[in-house]
Amino acid sequence: MILRITVYLILAFLLIPLALIVLFSFNASPSFTFPITGYSMRWYAQIFSDPQLGSALWKSFWIATLTAIITFLLGAAASLAWLRLGRKGRTVLEILCITPIALPGLFLGVSLLVLASQVGVQLSMITIVLSHVVLALPMLMIAMRARLALFDPNLEEASRDLGASQVLTFRRVTLPLIAPTLISCAVLSFALSFDEFVVTAFVSGTETTLPMYIWSMMRRTVTPLINAISTLAMVFTIAIISIALAIAAMKRATNLSSRDVA
């Protein structure tokens, strides 16, 4: 009984702030106090009339998209390597790919900033994307490792044995089997990148992403506009994660070749 109450309390603690944000985003008055006097969509209307906000949103979208694509490609390559490595090689690959997850975002941000300045790279969208890839790849590798451990290496040999070259084997056997996990991980990378703040703050230079814009708004005044933006971002992120989970849940990849059964 006590256990159950504890669980409910924890859930409430996690979810009530989110619910409040959603609630106040529809509040007619700009104050964050109960009782709520009326409902309106004015804050949502304001979002779409703010050009700076639009530009930040657009940038975040592109950064997240690029991050997802690059993570997907690197993840596919790393997965292929993982399948071909021995136990030692796999451990090394895992240590290299997964370690960044253990680093606090603050240190990661500082070190990426130092790296960029040492190499002489201008802080820009590019550095943001690369930093997000560094964040997303470990997550992808953890998910892929679980999937790849179930991958029967004999499948690739069977394909070769049946006359398919290495390239054809990748296209017709390996890729279809690892693609659902890879795609769902890429979608999750998108979500991760879309609302990343800590690392981005270090490597963004003059660029402003959506989370950074919200942060800068907060520093001036706490406006109810933030509630509306946050609600939209939340809905968007939940949608993305649902898509990712749905793809991952698809046990059976789509049948590659179409065939008419007489």
Partner: protein, 361 residues
């Protein structure tokens, strides 16, 4: 007829580990040959060399008269059935079987025709559109066979294909395998560590131990005339006596051990006075309540009786302290000895095989 597979002076090393040594073997078109041996003996490595997944460190391998040392697996006229089937989980039964034909670019109609025909042979034509995850172990086995055989391989390689099945299905699949072999006429090379599978299925058995071929023979010959202690013990059960070869008064060779002198029909040339072992199969042994006054009879005591219906297995200890096993047919009305009874253990001259005592294996 020229052999379909011929391996000459084959050696395979993984680093300093010699997986296969001095392999010489030729297999004729249409044969079922089993590579038999304990796990880790190199039989699977040999099969993977045939398939092209491993290459010989030295020696030559010819398939159908052509040297295939430099051919990748996809260019060899062989197909393999994997131990855990390795069926493609993202394809259905039809697509699995069609895979080999499709990657070779064979026309749609021919693919359909050949796949259907092969599925009929393995009796899976009613489950064409099932996904692999929806099949039982025995059904997976049939699909794996069809997927390999549909390509019309010169040689079908089977890597312990029944190991993952339970006993009942395994026995049924053995008969099926023989039928499918007869229907397709392909050469089968079958890897197993199971002596029963090897004896039931094969035209010839290749017995391998620690990377070397020990004996190549028909199952009957290998069972009845093992050429070394390893062969005698690996195929079936046997009683091993240690002793020396002597010449008796009449100049005939005899085997003398602590139990006494035994006569035998020489199958191997063993010099007189040299150490030897005698292998006596349990089913060659007869038990007598009284001394039968024959050659090769020694007194013993029954220590255990295992009744299995048609046969009983007797555990005995000879007066000389040797543990022996006998297998006796349970003929109705026969008086059977019980635990603790004194009996005479006896076997005919041709019921034993005498082998050199210091065999290479």
């Amino acid at each position: 007829m020229s052999p379909i597979i011929e391996i000459t002076d084959g050696n395979k090393a993984f680093g300093s580990f010699k997986a296969l040594q001095d392999i010489n073997l030729s297999i004729a078109q249409g044969e079922i040959v089993t590579l038999l041996g304990p796990s880790g003996c190199g039989k699977t490595t040999l099969m993977r060399i045939f398939a092209g997944f491993e290459s010989l460190t030295s020696g030559s391998l010819k398939i159908d008269g052509k040297d295939v040392s430099n051919l990748p697996p996809e260019k060899r006229p062989v197909n393999m059935v994997f131990q855990r089937y390795a069926l493609f989980p993202h394809l259905d039964v039809f697509e699995n079987v069609a895979y080999g034909l499709k990657v070779k670019g064979i026309g749609k109609d021919e693919v359909r025709e050949r796949v259907r025909n092969m599925l009929r042979i393995v009796q899976m034509d009613h489950l064409q559109q099932r996904f692999i995850t929806e099949l039982s172990g025995g059904q997976c086995q049939r699909v794996a066979l069809a997927r390999a055989l549909v390509n019309g391989p010169k040689v079908l390689l089977l890597d312990e294909p029944l190991a993952a099945l339970d006993l009942k299905i395994r026995q049924h699949m053995l008969t099926e395998m023989k039928r499918i072999h007869a229907e397709t006429g392909a050469t089968f090379i079958y890897v197993t560590h199971d002596q029963d599978e090897a004896m039931i299925l094969s035209d010839r058995v290749v017995l391998i131990d620690r990377g070397q071929i020990v004996q190549v023979d028909t199952p009957q010959d290998m069972y009845n005339r093992p050429n070394c202690l390893f062969s005698a013990k690996f195929l079936g059960e046997t009683n091993i006596l240690h002793g020396t070869i002597v010449e008796d008064a009449s100049g005939k060779s005899a085997f003398r051990s602590a139990e006494g002198s035994f006569h035998y029909q020489p199958t191997n040339q063993i010099a007189s006075k040299s150490a030897a072992i005698m292998s006596v199969r349990p089913e060659a042994i007869s038990l007598f309540a009284e001394n039968p006054a024959r050659d090769n009879a020694i007194p013993a005591t029954v220590t255990d009786v295992l009744f299995t219906g048609s046969r009983s297995f007797y555990h005995l200890v000879s007066d000389g302290g040797e543990a022996l096993r006998a297998q006796v047919q349970n003929t109705p009305g026969l008086n059977r000895p019980n635990v603790g009874d004194r009996v005479h253990v006896c076997w005919p001259h041709d019921g034993s095989v005498v082998l050199p005592a210091s065999p290479s294996h």
